[in-house]
Symmetry: C2
Subunit: 154 residues, 2 copies
DNA sequence: GTCATGTAGTGAATGTACTTCACGATGTAG
DNA sequence: CTACATCGTGAAGTACATTCACTACATGAC
């Protein structure tokens, strides 16, 4: 054997990333159950929280689903009282999906619980190590984007 | 201001983890389209690859879905020729879901493409940095498991 | 052996998420 | 004003997932 490798297998690292993501997702599922929402609808609310009142087209693009699907999700959120369809000033075709007070509260809870989770997961990691972690993560993500583009072209 | 913080926000780090997971998932979706499979069925095949021929109960447990759902997924995979239902020796109630040659080839492709992706993502990261990355990841995952247990109890 | 109880898988019914296709209503460029 | 693109939605269909009820089989108590 050429190396005594006390090496970190790349596959194992990838698996851990995926495992962590899965756990975070499971935590989200808990939130969803508590709020009586589904993950697709929570996702829509999340986007709405980042962008403010949006047309369904914009939501479809952000969620990477078809506009038709957004119609259904918004229907559900209107029924549960989380959003309303407001008239778009200047384009009578479009509707502005807008959070109600209930919806805004849900988004608030979502954001704070997200930040809370992040703090609990990474808050105790020494800054230097966390910085390395973030850098590796960032580099990897960028490398990934480049790989995807290559595939896209072929 | 108390600190000149060149600090890495924990929320940002969490978001990057989730982003990377999302990208990896998108890559999986590409694989699924190429194979004409859905993510739920690929997931089942993946588990089957890790555990070998399994009862539907075992699969339901591993996939964290109801046994009834596994019935449907296996139906689909039988129809597409990826698995067969074999008699369980010693328990005539149970069926052993078993990969066909086609299914085994798919699992093989899945495994190698997964390893390939991991190598391309993390292969160029200096070992020392990758080790830190993996350690932070591992610690975080364990911390998470402890948090989930706390919630479970309450 | 038989009887009670539990376990493995499935039919029926239901709900959500998602898609494509077709269409009406509105915006926009020429 | 006409052609064309865009915004949302009805209709129809697929996949994933659930619960509930049921059959077939296993297993331990007696």
């Amino acid at each position: 054997m050429k190396y005594i490798h006390y090496m970190t297998e790349t596959t194992e690292v990838l698996d851990r990333v995926l495992l962590l993501a899965h756990l975070v997702q499971a935590d989200m599922a808990r939130f969803e159950r508590e709020e009586g929402l589904t993950s697709a609808r929570v996702h829509l609310l999340w986007v709405l929280g980042s962008t403010g009142p949006s047309t369904q087209q914009a939501l479809a693009h952000a969620l990477e689903v078809t506009p038709r699907n957004v119609t259904g999700l918004v229907d559900g959120l209107v029924a549960s009282g989380h959003v309303t369809r407001e008239a778009h000033p200047g384009d009578r075709r479009a509707t502005l999906v807008t959070p109600t007070p209930l919806g805004a509260a849900t988004i608030e809870g979502l954001t704070s619980s997200h930040a809370d989770l992040a703090r609990r997961l990474f808050g105790d990691v020494p800054p230097a190590r966390l910085a390395v972690f973030a850098e590796v993560l960032d580099g990897t993500t960028q490398r990934f984007a480049r790989l995807m583009d290559q595939v896209q072209e072929s």
